[in-house]
Every structure is written in structure tokens, then in C-alpha cells.
């Protein structure tokens, strides 16, 4: 499954992802109307740490604690290749998942009856569109990628570093 990757070095904290996310999950396409509805909320969060802005959203964990603690079966995933979704019909608003989430990216909706979380914009993805936050990011700080690809890139980077170190040691 492709997951969201965020690059805090690139992020300029414009919060375009938050606005796009909230709008993508609102009842309307009109931003002015959406902000007038108190229920409109983003599912992506911009947190500040070490002088950087860090976009955070659901990691869609393999062994998801939120799914494990959900008493009503509202949180589930149809397979390991699918995102963790919250079924608002089944949700009883107990907020156990909110407590269980190690990233703090599930929260109780404004009306207090259900929880809301990132669904990786499966609706948009079904139409061949990237998640709203990815599409909105003006600096390319957010993208969707297979974790294997991420690992591969990290390996290539690590290998290049190791090779450079070896060459330096050899004095070549």
C-alpha cells in the first residue's frame, strides 16, 4: 500500500494541505461555505518541532491500535493493502481509538458523536486523483509512495554515503 510521506525540510507551513483536506471532506466544494460549517475539519495536522513544520496524518498502521480497541467495529480495514477507515454509522464516539493512536491523528468530530481520521482520500484515488493534501502542497513536501520504494531510496542514499566513506579511507 502506498502511504503518505512528508518532508519537513520542504514544508513551508502554509497549511494548504489542511485547507484542502478539510474541503475534500466537507459537504460542499465551496471554501467560503465550508468554513461556515463548524463540522468542517482537516484530517491532516501541521505540528511544529525542532524549528520545522511536520505534517502528520494517519499512518494506516499494519497492526493498528485503533482498530484493535474499537468496540463497535467502526474502525476497520478490508485488507492489509487498504487504508484504515472509520465507519461513522457504526462509530459510538467512545474515543478509545483517540487514546490508543500513538500519533494523535484521530479525533472526535465537532458534534462529539463520531471520530474523524484520514481516509487517504480513497474516493479521489478511485478517480485517479492524488489525495487532496498531496495535490494542494505547493512545494512537493507531501507525496504517496510504497514503503518499499522509500526503503530503496534510503538504501541508495546510505550506500552512496558508505561508498564515499570507503573511497575516502582508501585515499582514492
Amino acid at each position: 500500500m502506498k502511504r503518505l510521506v512528508a518532508d519537513p525540510i520542504r514544508c513551508l507551513a502554509c497549511r494548504a494541505c489542511e485547507i484542502a483536506c478539510a474541503l475534500a471532506h466537507a459537504e460542499t466544494d465551496d471554501l467560503a461555505e465550508a468554513i461556515a460549517d463548524p463540522g468542517t475539519r482537516p484530517r491532516i495536522y501541521l505540528e511544529s518541532a525542532e524549528g520545522l513544520a511536520v505534517p502528520l496524518q494517519c499512518r494506516h498502521c499494519e497492526d493498528a491500535p485503533c482498530v484493535a480497541v474499537c468496540p463497535s467495529g467502526a474502525l476497520s480495514r478490508s485488507s492489509e493493502a487498504e487504508p484504515v477507515l472509520a465507519d461513522q454509522q457504526k462509530c459510538i464516539g467512545c474515543a478509545y481509538c483517540v487514546q490508543a493512536c500513538p500519533f494523535g491523528v484521530i479525533r472526535v468530530a465537532t458534534d462529539q458523536t463520531v471520530v474523524i481520521k484520514c481516509d487517504l482520500c480513497i474516493g479521489r484515488q478511485g478517480q485517479g486523483l492524488p489525495p487532496a493534501c498531496v495535490a494542494a502542497c505547493p512545494v512537493g513536501a507531501l507525496w504517496l509512495e510504497e514503503m518499499d520504494e522509500v526503503a530503496k531510496r534510503s538504501r541508495a542514499k546510505a550506500a552512496a554515503g558508505a561508498a564515499a566513506a570507503s573511497l575516502t579511507n582508501e585515499g582514492r
Binding site: 502554509c14 497549511r15 494548504a16 489542511e18 485547507i19 484542502a20 478539510a22 474541503l23 471554501l31 467560503a32 468554513i35 461556515a36 463548524p38 468542517t40 475539519r41 482537516p42 495535490a135 494542494a136 505547493p138
Partner: protein, 677 residues
């Protein structure tokens, strides 16, 4: 966005295909690469006015609700709007100041190119401002007038003289709200001061500041620009010309003038007819020197010389893509820096001329009024030289062009409607009073890639005229309608409702009147004042059955224009909302509370037909308030009143006179406009 969705104009679509095939980026591509655009900016809730910030307000009400200084969304939104308004007012007014400078130079005999070409206007204004005329030459009068008008920009005490032109009610409104404009420059400077950190923080007070600044533009900078242009370059009279990219010529040297100030372009018109230069062009194998315009410079020289228009704002790059333009001469406002990129693909040279505006990659030939003719000739010679570099294989000139009639002004309308020997607005007011004419709408403003190019202008204007609303236009909106053939008398047959059609036929005028460039929106103000003065349709501007719109607006100048119309009592509906939606309070003030202050509000409506209906609803309400009858004829968008009352009203209002006779009366009192070819 597919190419076919970018514009409704055939010539533009043809050029966009060329762009696609040649892989040349245009404004639409750049627009797409900016998507999605920043929500904070759109909502107006980011503040960059001090450097504790930047700050922004969380529009979802969870995060920060105030900036570091404590400014709320209301404060930030209103302060940003005041700043936008000041920039728009500054642009028009600085343009106006340049024209007055040229007048002073002409009067002092210090110019090789300028002289008084509008003596009637000169004497009219001299009388209005109390300048002695007895036994004095035009130059002497003009010199005094130029000094007086220049002082209006820097006026430190009292109020702008032109505010006396406004009806009493407007003057009372402004006085009561503290929005009477003083010196033009003063209002802009004060506005900028008020937006500094920790100065003006109350939203309503800031918005009234925006109104005051805009009024200094509408009744000051812009109105002076129009008056003095008429004096210096000649008073426009109705004339015929052509519009769209098809006006470029394959066998002539093509020079495009793009921007806003007529000071240089007017001289270019004269220089392009210089026999010596024409001979030089012939020697290079060109059959002539073809001048065409883009944006409001185009409107200025169209109105006075009938120079054809190549296109409006979103066609500036498409015109260069024809590969047939030797020189594009630019001055100020609305010129894309991207135009110089086309020098890499084509032989075209972009020449910047204003001491205020430079464009990376352009050739800069600075224009000063003292040497106007010399500079104009130098630029034309450059174009002639460059003709040889044109690659015929890369030339694509769309065949598309349309006829139009332009050159309508507040003064000309007197003559057209009243006749040469009895100039009057009476027939216009009569038309409105009887319901033959439902009202008058000003449709103005820019193009914006957020809307299909020209699409909203055309849809709105067609909806208005088929409902018997006479339309007056300026700027890029007028060019859009020109390209669609709406600025011709024949358009009345094809598109106007029965009542408007009758008047157009009687007078021989188009149902859509081109009144000039964007500073010439001031003509719409003065025309409305004439309607008030003529009497019978309201004794103040806010009572007139009129409305304004800018369906594809994009510039800060448009904000200033909209604001001065609203503050002058005229309802204005614009396509995309002002960047104020981050504050519900500010939206309410602009769209509701302003009614109480000025007798008019702003409205935001992206759908051009719905927007036209809002204008018509407003016009109908004003008609009802005045006790005027409903429209004389069946109209597609009927008034929202009950039928019985309508029928009763109709009998009373026309005094039992059959409609046909009333039509004949209008016809008898009118003469056709003198249309010069």
C-alpha cells in the same frame, strides 16, 4: 483544463492550439501550475503587514483566531482590502497625473507632440472650475487648468473639487460617514498608514477608509484622467473600427501597443502615418505600418482614432504567438512579465517605455513627454528594421475579426439621444420612465483564467440586453463584447429585447456602448449624474435603476472601481468574491451594512446569468421604489411582482398612449450618431 474550455473566443482558441502544438506555456498553463491556490489568501486571512508575522487565522475556528498583535480575522481582512483598494486607486491616479503633466507641457509649448485637441472640454472644465477665459488663449487656460488639477492630487485642505459633481444625497452620505475624499495622493497615503501594524483595527472603519480612498480615485484620479485625456487627445465621437487578432496584417509591419496610458500610444498613432516612416517600411518590403492595441491603451486610441484592437487582457500572449508582431510596446498595468519570453520563440521585440515599469528581457526605451515624437519614431523604426526578421513559416494570424462602434462618452450621449440641436438625456430618462428601457447596467473589468476567457462577459451582457437593459462598457469587458459583435447597431436586432431594440433602431446605436478604458469608468459616474440631473428617475445615484458588474475581474484596480461605484450608491456584483470571505462580519458589512451607509452594496456571484438576474432584480426594485411601471414589453426574465399590479401600472404610466406612438416620439427626438469611419 482542456484548451477548448479556456476561452469562448474563436481566434483565441485557434492560437491556443498553436501554443499546444509548439509547447509554449501561456497564462492558462501557469494558472494550472498554481493550483490549488492558497485558501488563506483567497479568504483574506493572512497578514504580512508586520514582521512579528506572517500570521494567519485558522478558518476552521480551532487554531489561532488572532494574529500575534491580536488582530482578528475581521481586522486582517478589512485591512488587506483597504490596502488593495489603495493600490488600485494609486494606479488609476498616477496614470491621471501623467496625463495632467502632459497637458501642462502642451499648454506651455514644451512638447513636440501634444496640443489641445479637445477645446470644448477645455472650456467646459475651465468654466466649472472658475478659470478666467475672457481674452485668453486655449494654452493659457489649459495651463491654469493643469496647475489646478495637479493640485488636486496633492491637495492638503478641503475636499476634491469633483465631489461637487455628485448629487447632494451622495455628498451628504459621504459627509455623514467621514468618507469625503480629500487630495488624491493624501487618501492613498492615509490608507497605507492605516494598514501599518497597530494603527486602524476596526473592520467597519477600515472599510469606510477603503470607500474614501476609492472615491478619491473615481471622482478624482480616474475622472481627471478621463477629462484631461479628452482635452489633450480629443473628445471621442462614435466611430467604426475592428477587433480581434485578425486585425494583424501579414504584409505590414505590426506594432502592438499594450498597457494603459495614452500619452505615448497617441503619439505612436500620429507617427505611424509619417510619410518618411511609411517609405522606410516600403523599402523593407512592408505594405504599411499596422498599429493595433491590447487592453486599455487599445481602448484609448480606439475611442479617439479608431485604431483596431488586437485583443484583451488574456490575449496579450496569443497576439505574440501569431509570429507577426515586430514590436510590442508596453507601458504600465496588466502587462504580463511573461511577454518577454516570446522573444525567445519569435522575432518579436518587447519594448518597455515607462520610467516606472521594467520587464526583464525587454528593450527599454524610456518615454518622456518632452521628446514624445522622437521616441515614437525611434520605436517605429525599430519595428520596421525587425520586419525582415519575421519568419513567414511561423506566422499564424487568425482570420477572425469583428466590426464595432466605439467612442461613446457622457457628452456624446447627449447629442446622440437628444439630437445636435437639443442635446439632452431626456429621451434616455423617458425610455426608462415608460419602461421601454428597464434600466442601465455597466459591465466592465478584466479577464481572469478562473473563468473561460470572455465567457462571463458575453453571457451577462446578452442576458441584460435581451431583458431591455442598456449596457455601457469599458476595458477588457468592452473588447470581449466587441469581438462577439455586440458593439454594433445590428446587435440590437439579434440580441436586444423589444424595448431596447426600438430605441437602438430609432437612434442607430448599439445596445452595448463602449465608453472607453478603465479610467473611463468615471464616464459612467458622470453619465449617471446626468441621468439624475435630467430628472424623473431618482434625485440621487442610489435611486437610479442602474447596476454595475465586473464578472471576470482580477486586478486591484477593479476593487477600487467597484468600491467607488458602491460608495457612490450603485449596486455592484462581481464574479469571484473579494478576498474577504474569511470574515463573516466583513462580508456582511460589504453586502448588507453598506446599503445603510451608501444606498448600495457589493454582491458576489460567479454565475454570469444569475449575476445578471441580481442586477435586474435590483433595477426592478429601484423602478418599483420610484413608482415606475414594469417593463413595457414581455421580457424573458420577468419582474418579481404580480401580474395584475403590472397591468394596472402600465396603463397609468403610459397615460394610455399606445406603445407604438411612444416609440415614434423617441425616434423623432433622436438623430443617429455621427459614425466616422
Amino acid at each position: 483544463m482542456a484548451v477548448r474550455e479556456r476561452s469562448v473566443d474563436a481566434a483565441s482558441l485557434q492560437m491556443l492550439k498553436v501554443a499546444e502544438e509548439a509547447d509554449i506555456a501561456t497564462v492558462w498553463d501557469r494558472f494550472e501550475s498554481q493550483q490549488p491556490q492558497c485558501g488563506f489568501g483567497r479568504l483574506g486571512i493572512c497578514c504580512r503587514n508586520c514582521f512579528m508575522g506572517p500570521c494567519r487565522i485558522d478558518p476552521f475556528g480551532e487554531g489561532a483566531q488572532v494574529g500575534i498583535c491580536g488582530a482578528t480575522a475581521d481586522t486582517i481582512v478589512a485591512r488587506n482590502l483597504l490596502k488593495n483598494t489603495a493600490v488600485g486607486a494609486a494606479a488609476h491616479s498616477d496614470h491621471g497625473r501623467e496625463i495632467v503633466h502632459a497637458l501642462r507641457m502642451a499648454a506651455g509649448g514644451k512638447s513636440d507632440a501634444y496640443k489641445i485637441r479637445g477645446p470644448v472640454k477645455l472650456h467646459k472644465l475651465a468654466e466649472e472650475y472658475g478659470i478666467a477665459r475672457h481674452d485668453r488663449s486655449d494654452d493659457e487656460i489649459a495651463k491654469d487648468l493643469a496647475e489646478l488639477l495637479l493640485a488636486e492630487f496633492g491637495r492638503q485642505e478641503g475636499v476634491l473639487l469633483n465631489t461637487a459633481r455628485a448629487p447632494e444625497q451622495q455628498q451628504r452620505n459621504w459627509a455623514a460617514l467621514g468618507t469625503v475624499p480629500r487630495g488624491v495622493d493624501r487618501e492613498v497615503v492615509t490608507a497605507m498608514h492605516r494598514t501599518h501594524v497597530g494603527v486602524d483595527n476596526e473592520a467597519e472603519h477600515l472599510l469606510l477608509g477603503a470607500a474614501r480612498t476609492a472615491l478619491a480615485d473615481g471622482w478624482g484620479g480616474s475622472m481627471i484622467a478621463t477629462d484631461v485625456s479628452d482635452m489633450l487627445f480629443g473628445e471621442p465621437k462614435p466611430l467604426r473600427s475592428r477587433v480581434n487578432l485578425g486585425v494583424l496584417k501579414e504584409d505590414e509591419v505590426n506594432i502592438l501597443v499594450h498597457g494603459h496610458e495614452p500619452t505615448l500610444s497617441d503619439v505612436i498613432v500620429a507617427a505611424s502615418q509619417d510619410p518618411e516612416l511609411l517609405a522606410e517600411a516600403a523599402a523593407k518590403g512592408a505594405k504599411g505600418i499596422n498599429l493595433a492595441g491590447i487592453c486599455c491603451t487599445a481602448n484609448e486610441i480606439l475611442m479617439r482614432h479608431g485604431v483596431p484592437i488586437a485583443g484583451n487582457f488574456l490575449q496579450q500572449e496569443l497576439a505574440l504567438m501569431t509570429g507577426a508582431v515586430e514590436v510590442m510596446l508596453v507601458d504600465v498595468q496588466c502587462v504580463f512579465p511573461a511577454v518577454t519570453e516570446f522573444q525567445k520563440c519569435f522575432h518579436t521585440k518587447v519594448v518597455s517605455t515607462s520610467p516606472k515599469a521594467r520587464f526583464p528581457g525587454a528593450t527599454h526605451i524610456e518615454f518622456h513627454e518632452e521628446h514624445a515624437m522622437e521616441t515614437a519614431k525611434k520605436i517605429i523604426r525599430m519595428a520596421i528594421e525587425n520586419f525582415a526578421n519575421r519568419d513567414p513559416a511561423r506566422v499564424t494570424i487568425p482570420a477572425t475579426q469583428e466590426k464595432l462602434v466605439a467612442g461613446f462618452t457622457t457628452d456624446v450621449v447627449h447629442e446622440i439621444l437628444g439630437g445636435k440641436y437639443r442635446p439632452s438625456y431626456r429621451p434616455l430618462n423617458d425610455g426608462i420612465q415608460t419602461g421601454r428601457l428597464r434600466g442601465v447596467a455597466g459591465v466592465v473589468g478584466c479577464n481572469n483564467p478562473k473563468f473561460p476567457h470572455d465567457g462571463s462577459h458575453l453571457a451577462m451582457v446578452k442576458e441584460l440586453i435581451r431583458n431591455d437593459v442598456l449596457v455601457v462598457q469599458t476595458g477588457c469587458s468592452a473588447i470581449a463584447c466587441g469581438k462577439a459583435g455586440l458593439l454594433t447597431p445590428e446587435a440590437a436586432e439579434a440580441h436586444a429585447g423589444k424595448g431596447l431594440g426600438e430605441i437602438c433602431r430609432a437612434v442607430g446605436m448599439p445596445p452595448v456602448l463602449h465608453v472607453g478604458s478603465c479610467v473611463d469608468n468615471s464616464r459612467i459616474l458622470t453619465a449617471c449624474v446626468e441621468m439624475v440631473n435630467e430628472g424623473g428617475i431618482g434625485d440621487s445615484l442610489d435611486k437610479l435603476p442602474v447596476a454595475g458588474a465586473a464578472p471576470e475581474w482580477m486586478s486591484e484596480k477593479a476593487i477600487s472601481i467597484g468600491m467607488y461605484f458602491v460608495a457612490s450608491g450603485i449596486f455592484v456584483v462581481i464574479g469571484q468574491a473579494l478576498p474577504v470571505e474569511g470574515s463573516a462580519a466583513v462580508v456582511e458589512m460589504l453586502t448588507q451594512t453598506f446599503e445603510k451607509h451608501f444606498g448600495a452594496t457589493w454582491a458576489f456571484e460567479p454565475d454570469p446569468v444569475k449575476a445578471a438576474h441580481r442586477m435586474i432584480d435590483h433595477i426592478d426594485r429601484k423602478r418599483a421604489d420610484l413608482g415606475l411601471p414594469p417593463p413595457m414589453y414581455e421580457v424573458p426574465y420577468a419582474p418579481k411582482t404580480n401580474g395584475a399590479a403590472r397591468a394596472a401600472n402600465r396603463t397609468v404610466s403610459t397615460g394610455g398612449q399606445p406603445a407604438g406612438e411612444a416609440g415614434a416620439a423617441v425616434a423623432a427626438s433622436c438623430r443617429g450618431p455621427r459614425i466616422e469611419d
